[in-house]
C-alpha cells in the first residue's frame, strides 16, 4: 500500500506491505539505522522516535499508521554540525557506554523535558521507565538529562 509521511522534515513516499513496522521502514527502506531494534516487543525503548512531537516505540507502529504524520528520528536532531542540547549533554556527561540504547534514551529524554522542563531525579528515572540500558549505565544518563534541563 502507498504511504507518505514526513521524516525529519522531508517527505517520504513508498509502497509497503501493511505488516511493515515503522522501525523496519526507517532502517531498511530509508537506510536510517540510527533508530535501533532491541527487544522488538515494545519494552526496551531502543526504537523510540517522535510522531507529531510525542515519543513512541517505532517497533509497535505500522509504517502505514504514520501516514500524513511527522516523524522525527535521532538523525534529525542536530543542526548541521551542532549537536542538539540533549545530545551535547549526553556527550558531556558520558551518558552512554555501548551506545545501543542511546538514540531511544535521547528521544525519550527530549519528550520528557517537553512536558516537565525541570524534573527531579526521581521524575527522570520514572520517565525513562520505557527505556532499558543493557550496560546499566543509568547514573550518567540521568545526569545527562539533568544537565540538558539546566541548559534549556
Amino acid at each position: 500500500m502507498k504511504v507518505s509521511f514526513s521524516v525529519n522534515d522531508k517527505t517520504v513516499e513508498s509502497d509497503v506491505e501493511p505488516r511493515t513496522l515503522l522501525v523496519d521502514f526507517l532502517r531498511n527502506n530509508l537506510g536510517m539505522t540510527g533508530t535501533h531494534v532491541g527487544c522488538d516487543t515494545s519494552q526496551c525503548g531502543a526504537c523510540v522516535v517522535h510522531m507529531d512531537g510525542r515519543s513512541i516505540k517505532s517497533c509497535t507502529l505500522l509504517a502505514l499508521q504514520a501516514e500524513g504524520r511527522e516523524i522525527k528520528t535521532i538523525e534529525g536532531l542536530a543542526f548541521g554540525d551542532k549537536l542538539h542540547p540533549m545530545q551535547a549533554a549526553f556527550r558531556e556527561e558520558h551518558g552512554l557506554q555501548c551506545g545501543f540504547c542511546t538514540p531511544g534514551m535521547i528521544m525519550s529524554a527530549i519528550d520528557l523535558l517537553q512536558s516537565n522542563g525541570d524534573p527531579t531525579e526521581a521524575e527522570i528515572r520514572d520517565g525513562l521507565e520505557g527505556n532499558i540500558c543493557r550496560c546499566t549505565g543509568y547514573h550518567n544518563i540521568v545526569k545527562s538529562i539533568q544537565t540538558a534541563a539546566k541548559a534549556q
Binding site: P18, G45, S55, K57, T60, L62, L64, N131
Partner: protein, 264 residues
C-alpha cells in the same frame, strides 16, 4: 507477523462497514497489545481496521456531573487532563501508571477495555467508578460489560465510542505493579459514590470483579481497619511466575487498605 490487509476509515460508519464486509477483521486502536500479539503470531487477523483517524473518538468533556472520555483518548491525555485531575484525580493517576510513557502516548481507554486483559488497570477504573460504556448502538454498564478473561459484551462489529464516568465523592486506586511491565499484579479501586461504596479488583482473578464484602464493611465504617480482617477466597485467583493465588489474595487486602488510607 502474518500478512493482513489494512484500512483506516475516517468515520464510525466506515468502520462498521469494513467490519461487516470482513468477517475476520479486527479493530486496531492504540495497538499496544494487538501488534505485539500479532508479532508473536498469537493473533493473525487477516484484516485490520485502524480507527486512529476518526477524530470524533478522542477527547474529554464534562457533562451533567460526569466526565466523558472518547474511546481513542490516549492514556497520556487522560493523565494530563486538567478536567480529569480536577474531577476524578484517581483516574488521572491510574492512567499515569499504565506501562511507560511511550505506551501511554499510544494506548487508548477504548482499546484497553475492549481487550479486557485480566491485569489491565482501566477495567478496575470503570467498574470501581461505576462507569457506563457508550458504543455505536447502545450503553452498557461497566458492571455488566466485563464478562471474563479477554471477554466482554461487545459484538464483533460493535465499536466503543466513549466511556462516561460519574464523578465520585472520593476515590483512590492502588496497585502492586509488575516491575517490568507495570501491569497490575493486583490493583484495587475504592470509591465513595452517590450510590454507595464500590471496590473493584483487577489482576487477582480472570476478570475484574467487585469485592462486595469490603463494600459492605466500608459502607458501615470507612476506615482501613474495617476491612483489615476480610480475606477473600483466593482459590480461583491467578497464579503465575509473578505471584501465587494466595499472595494475590493477600495483596487485594493490602491494596484496598492503602486506597482507603489515602482517602481518610
Amino acid at each position: 507477523m502474518y500478512r493482513f490487509n489494512y484500512e483506516a476509515p475516517t468515520s464510525i460508519d466506515g468502520t462498521l462497514t469494513a467490519l461487516r464486509q470482513n468477517s475476520e477483521a479486527k479493530i486496531i486502536a492504540g495497538g499496544m497489545t494487538l501488534l505485539p500479539t500479532m508479532k508473536l503470531r498469537l493473533a493473525s487477523p487477516d484484516y485490520l481496521v485502524d480507527i486512529n483517524n476518526i477524530q470524533s473518538l478522542a477527547g474529554i468533556t464534562k457533562n451533567n456531573g460526569s466526565i466523558v472520555i472518547g474511546a481513542m483518548t490516549r492514556h497520556a491525555d487522560v493523565a494530563s487532563s486538567a478536567l480529569v485531575r480536577d474531577c476524578i484525580p484517581c483516574l488521572a493517576n491510574l492512567a499515569e501508571a499504565i506501562g511507560d510513557r511511550q505506551v501511554r502516548n499510544r494506548g487508548t481507554i477504548g482499546g484497553s477495555v475492549a481487550n479486557n486483559d485480566p491485569s489491565a488497570d482501566y477495567p478496575a477504573g470503570l467498574v470501581g467508578l461505576g462507569a457506563t460504556l457508550v458504543t455505536d448502538r447502545r450503553e452498557i454498564e461497566a458492571d455488566d460489560f466485563f464478562t471474563g478473561m479477554f471477554e466482554t459484551l461487545l459484538k464483533k462489529d460493535e465499536i466503543i465510542t466513549a466511556v462516561r464516568f460519574p464523578i465520585p465523592k472520593r476515590a483512590a486506586y492502588m496497585k502492586f505493579p509488575n516491575p517490568a511491565s507495570r501491569y497490575a499484579i493486583v490493583g484495587v479501586l475504592v470509591a465513595e459514590t452517590s450510590n454507595g461504596v464500590r471496590v473493584a479488583v483487577t489482576g487477582a482473578a480472570s476478570c475484574v470483579f467487585r469485592a462486595q464484602a469490603m463494600e459492605v464493611a466500608l459502607e458501615n465504617e470507612f476506615t482501613p481497619n474495617s476491612i483489615a480482617l476480610l480475606t477473600l477466597n483466593s482459590t480461583k485467583f491467578n497464579e503465575d511466575i509473578h505471584a501465587t493465588a494466595e499472595y494475590r489474595g493477600h495483596l487485594v487486602n493490602v491494596m484496598a487498605r492503602r486506597a482507603v488510607s489515602a482517602l481518610t
